[in-house]
Symmetry: C3
Subunit: 342 residues, 3 copies
């Protein structure tokens, strides 16, 4: 991925850390301990994998102080209090070297309203559409085929990957990343029944997204019915997630792929929602709630903690017997009760 | 959202209802009772919330006749038999005031085949593609980046939001709304096994969608294998829904986000399918069936009613114990049987 | 769908099989036995439906040798060892007749880098974007609004439907089909926690996809964190599927709609994953594993077989009683144990 190799000394100069040995060793790639070769840098974040220190072929390993001696006995080492965080910063530095520089300016094929406002250094990709009243902050990058509708706002240094829709009046803050296929600000799902079928409730709110938010591919965040749908600072959403109208998600909450949150539910800060989990509407989850993958949340959660609910899968013939019994579970309890009375 | 405020008298002139008091009061927004301020109009649809009449700051409240006295005692009121339906119509009227007028005509950046047929008043947005043989009805709006493939048809006054794909030969009726990212008419998932791997079954049908249908963002409706996939009049589909080939959905059925229906299943009219529910293939659900969120339907349903199946989530340590026991449930029943025999 | 009718003799000339009777019969469509009319060809693949031979109005039926006599007694028949496979090939031949010929060349509205490499016979649709360093193989078709990013590669004869994103450095092999809305190569979901919130782990890998792979509408396949996400030859993915970073899927495995696979999980060859099933991260499933629809896989599977886990749905009031009891299941087992001790 990188254009050339890099000396460990350069890396330390950029990212800090204590280098033990080999400042002129050159690194060509980042790799896990068990896949590393002699031009790889690797990291050891989980002490459980300490045994891999003895077998890895990595040229350099990033470790915590407690493992400095063990790591440097076998080759170069970078010592840092949080090796995983150091690794994250290393990937950022690495990617920045390989990424093409932003080309400030509007691609000639883009359709940009003269009534849109573009900050300094903004890049607008091929065939993007930016409507009247949209405001694009300094250094933001609008990918090919994106649509920023009327009155929408993109914060400074935020990147929209190719093919993102940011609906009219919706706002995303600074330093965000929005992946391809995301739809922000489609109508929430609201209808009044009538004798002639459903009558649409026009969705008059918008979507407000804070700073440092990342949103995965093909995820949808609907606009609010009256007020706004709100995603606070630092929230991370994976792919194919559904956020319904008027949902609120607190700071630094992360949700894995295919999760879904129904209308008007409020999720606190610092929560994690597992993949394919879903949360029904009009609930409240306090801060620090962790929902396991594939769990359906049907009640508000008032205490931090871990909550789970996937059905335990098993070999099919066994599942069939247990599932059949499950349909009689209440009766079974009655039978136990009757036995106890005897 | 609205360009200016509006007098209650104007609103009554447009939407009907009996106004008690304050015809010259001006309204700036629509809000729920508990968020309303002195320039808000609100509504009380559920008698459970009647207490909020005493605390809301709304300038005007829409109520049913039974609450006319209580509502007008505290300020202006609009009396109407179905306040929720009135609210829905109010949002439509409100949104129409704020929405930019359709700009009939084809944006110069769009790629429209000379062999496509566009009705009067059609608007085609920037960079849209309309292929040969496509037919676009009167007053329809085709958003930016939409693709209407060869031989597809869009009914009168239907709106495709930006970035919708309507596949070749597929049809949607009048007054529909299709949100961004929707894919109508991708191939259904059909393969014949062979010793060299799967052999594709070309999907020779199309998708037929009735009038007054709304389809949420990033939802997919596959074309039929031989006959068509059919969505009848008045159906409402939320975001990220999967409708497989040859599914049929009856009139006025509504499905919430992330629901999925496998191939050839037929769902009746006036059903509701909860979010993240899924229905396996080749089933029949009669009219008036209501499926709870996150339920997996594995058998046909021959009686109207409410059907449910989410696993009851709980605090993780408790879930672990119960889930482990669940794998022994059949054995547990045998043990109860043995005890009963004694 | 077909431009004209076709004589059975033509069909046999193209596809083989033994024709019994009626070589000059002309066919206008392919239809299931129970929907066929006098100009339809149909097939009987499942002996269970043999009774339909007596009632179908099809002009010709494709059957296995054992049914040759019964089928030809009622009209024309094509005899072939595997009628379903013959049907699949027939649909391909039929669709090829109706499909517009590829128009080699680049649509004038497409934005193609001069540093991209296009093989002979490549078709690039309207408003597509192909970046520098991309390589498009012979006869490949790139649909309208597709984006092939820098350094990505599309194999010979592969077709990207309109509006597909193939991310930088990602590769798909020959003869693939990718449906609209697919995003290949968005960032995997990786973050290191820090006291200031999540720190992004840049995703430095790519996606490698083999030959003869089909990918359904709006499906997402994320790029790997360090190494690549790998989809092997002959894999078939339905719509709205989530494949997380560094997942590996073996040859000829098929996954139905809305399935999801979390990071670093390895799925073997010749597996089937049912619709809405999900598999958590860092697991291994061996070859020949079949997962039922709506099953959550939480442990590695070391033996081929069928595994299941959907919660058995039922009428709501019954579900409520059973679900409430389920929360006490562990206690119920303790009570049975106590009874047994007496």
């Amino acid at each position: 991925m990188s254009p050339t190799t890099v000396a460990l000394a350069e890396l330390i100069a950029a990212l800090g850390g204590d280098l033990l040995g080999g400042s002129d060793i050159r690194i060509a790639r980042i790799a896990p301990l068990d896949e590393a070769d002699g031009v790889s840098i690797s990291f050891l974040a989980n002490p459980r994998y300490q045994a891999q220190l003895g077998t890895t072929r990595a040229a350099c390993v990033i470790v915590a102080p407690a493992l400095a001696e063990a790591a440097s006995a076998r080759g170069a080492a970078i010592v840092t209090p949080d090796p995983y965080l150091y690794f994250a910063r290393l990937t950022q530095w690495w990617a920045a070297r390989a990424r093409p520089a932003a080309v400030a300016g509007v691609h000639p094929s883009a359709v940009v309203s003269p009534d849109a406002t573009l900050g300094p250094g903004v890049e607008v990709g091929p065939l993007a559409v930016i409507e009247a009243g949209a405001v694009i902050g300094e250094g933001a990058r609008i990918g090919a085929h994106c649509i920023v509708e009327r009155g929408a706002a993109v914060g400074a240094w935020t990147r929209l990957a190719p093919r993102v829709v940011l609906g009219h009046g919706c706002r995303i803050g600074a330093r965000g990343i929005v992946h391809s296929g995301v739809v922000i600000g489609a109508d929430g799902f609201g209808f009044a029944p009538s004798k002639d079928g459903y009558v649409k409730i026009e969705q008059l709110g918008a979507v407000t997204i804070g700073d440092d938010v990342e949103i995965g591919a093909n995820t949808c965040i609907d606009r609010g019915a009256l007020g706004d749908t709100v995603i606070q600072d630092g929230v991370k959403l994976d792919n194919l997630i559904q956020i319904a109208h008027n949902v609120q998600i607190g700071r630094h909450t992360a949700m894995a792929g295919c999760a879904a949150v129904a209308g008007s539910t409020r999720i606190g800060a610092n929560c994690t929602i597992g993949g394919a989990a879903n949360i029904i509407g009009h609930l409240t989850l306090v801060d620090g709630v962790h929902i396991s993958a594939a769990t359906t949340v049907t009640r508000s959660i008032h205490e931090p903690g871990v909550y789970s609910g996937p059905y335990p899968f098993e070999e099919n013939s066994s599942w069939q017997k247990n599932a059949a019994t499950l349909r009689q579970l209440h009766t079974l309890r009655e039978r136990v009760r009757a036995l106890e009375k005897k």
